[in-house]
Symmetry: C2
Subunit: 123 residues, 2 copies
């Protein structure tokens, strides 16, 4: 079973965290069944945490987890904190292939979205 | 003179902040002259700060500044910290119209970019 795990920073503001849960649901719908399960997790300040989410997916029978960092820049969270937590997940679940994809900010399409927002033409 | 100000969180990692400067340059090129000036600023941890950037744009003759928050979720930074700093800029520069646009995470196109990254088809 191949799962997608969206990872966001997490906020003290509940509505902000709920945006992430809604985004994961949108991703699930848009993915058209290409991932058997689409979940979200937070690096800090909110639950579920990354290790907790990996544990749950493993318990659900995931054999592969594609990790999608919902981050815009390669700060310490993307370069160090998230990879370290994924390594802990790998150590606990050696039968699960955990692959981290590039963070959102690497996608060239971000510039176009920003320009649309700047010009008042959001999609 | 109408300026665009891209606001990012800021990182202790210099390369991360340089990504933001490069993004502002890309926005400038993609905007095709619709903004006379495109600059970036950081909420914290890096320079220029938001107030400093507003001061500079005002000194350069900006009469309108469109503020574009390079953030993914409406945490306290987007809801409170950035608006408070913009209010201080407005107080110091009453002749400059400072308008904050929605943050990047509000754009529906984000889901498609994420899915492309997840599927290994980055644009």
């Amino acid at each position: 079973m191949h799962a997608l795990l969206l990872i966001a920073h997490g906020s003290r503001r509940r509505s902000s965290n709920e945006e992430i849960a809604a985004l994961a649901r949108s991703l699930d719908m848009r993915a058209g069944g290409r991932f058997a399960s689409v979940r979200h997790a937070f690096l800090e300040l909110a639950e579920p945490g990354i290790e907790q989410a990996i544990d749950r997916l493993a318990a659900d029978g995931a054999t592969a987890i594609t990790v999608l960092p919902y981050f815009l820049a390669a700060g310490n969270h993307v370069r160090e904190d998230i990879p370290a937590l994924l390594d802990r997940g790998r150590a606990r679940h050696p039968g699960v292939a955990i692959e981290m994809r590039p963070y959102l900010g690497t996608h060239a399409g971000v510039v176009d979205l920003l320009l649309e927002i700047a010009l008042g033409e959001p999609g």
